[in-house]
């Protein structure tokens, strides 16, 4: 990587860091209850992809499979985009920024969230393996395989930020202003 590439990347990281320190719709993630609601919505969005996979597995190729899977996928994206954006802001980028831009508490929180997400992912893989091995896989529609891969990707990628949003304690009062001398 050239010096110029490094500079561009560093500048991009710093901009992302600054953007994640600015509140965006703060009332949506101001309390632990609301952050947990967001995390639950994110989990529901992931479940939609898995539901679309199951529908395709059983009904594809058919119009019914298309009529169910595509709206589920679309709804999943519509729910997931704001949820992940808001949880990233709520956690101040602890899950998405480069480690060198985080302090020791944020790094510790990131490691804890990744550990929990890793365990959950392991459970999902075990369930998936049991389901695949216990069913007839001779005529599996490609559509369901593709949806399953998308589901695995998204689950693996987004679980850490959902876990972090679920776990995050309320920030100390008065943190946002400097009136707390």
């Amino acid at each position: 990587m050239t010096w110029g590439d490094t500079m561009v990347r560093e500048r991009w990281e710093r901009r992302r860091q600054a953007a994640l320190q600015r509140d965006m719709l703060p009332s949506w993630y101001a309390t632990r209850r609301r952050r947990r609601t967001l995390a639950a919505a994110g989990l529901a969005a992931l479940a939609m992809i898995w539901a679309a996979t199951a529908v395709s597995w059983n009904l594809a190729p058919s119009d019914t499979a298309m009529a169910v899977s595509l709206p589920l996928l679309g709804l999943s994206v519509v729910v997931m985009l704001p949820v992940v954006t808001l949880l990233n802001v709520a956690t101040r980028g602890s899950m998405s920024l480069a480690e060198r831009l985080l302090d020791e508490r944020q790094v510790a929180e990131r490691l804890r969230s990744f550990t929990v997400a890793h365990r959950v992912m392991l459970g999902i893989l075990v369930v998936l393996a049991v389901v695949v091995l216990s069913t007839d896989t001779e005529d599996v529609p490609m559509a369901s395989v593709a949806l399953g891969v998308v589901g695995l990707f998204e689950t693996h990628m987004l679980l850490p930020v959902l876990v972090a949003g679920w776990r995050q304690a309320d920030p100390p009062p008065g943190d946002e202003e400097d009136e707390d001398l």
């Binding site: 101040r92 510790a108 920030p171 008065g174 943190d175 400097d178 001398l181």
Partner: protein, 83 residues
């Protein structure tokens, strides 16, 4: 001295809020001086996060006091108490 345990976690008491108020330093100023996120100072003050030895020493260094003045395994006596 036995470590104070809360919810099964070892708890380190600190006087960061008192020292910060006494010196007239805001959370953001302290955070900037230490190179940590400003919310981390709040979590430290509330006892919801125990710092590494390195950060504890830097906090003590910032206030120019020995580390045991800022951190303790036992609760600090309340102001005005005789014990």
């Amino acid at each position: 001295m036995a470590a104070d345990k809360t919810d099964g976690k070892e708890h380190v008491h600190n006087r960061i809020a008192v020292l910060r108020a006494e010196r007239g330093v805001s959370r953001r100023e302290l955070a900037t001086a230490l190179g940590v996120h400003y919310q981390t100072i709040g979590y430290l003050e509330r006892g919801e996060y125990s710092p590494s030895l390195h950060l504890a020493l830097r906090i003590a260094g910032f206030f120019e006091v020995p580390v045991e003045v800022v951190f303790s395994l036992a609760p600090f006596p309340r102001l005005g108490s005789t014990s």
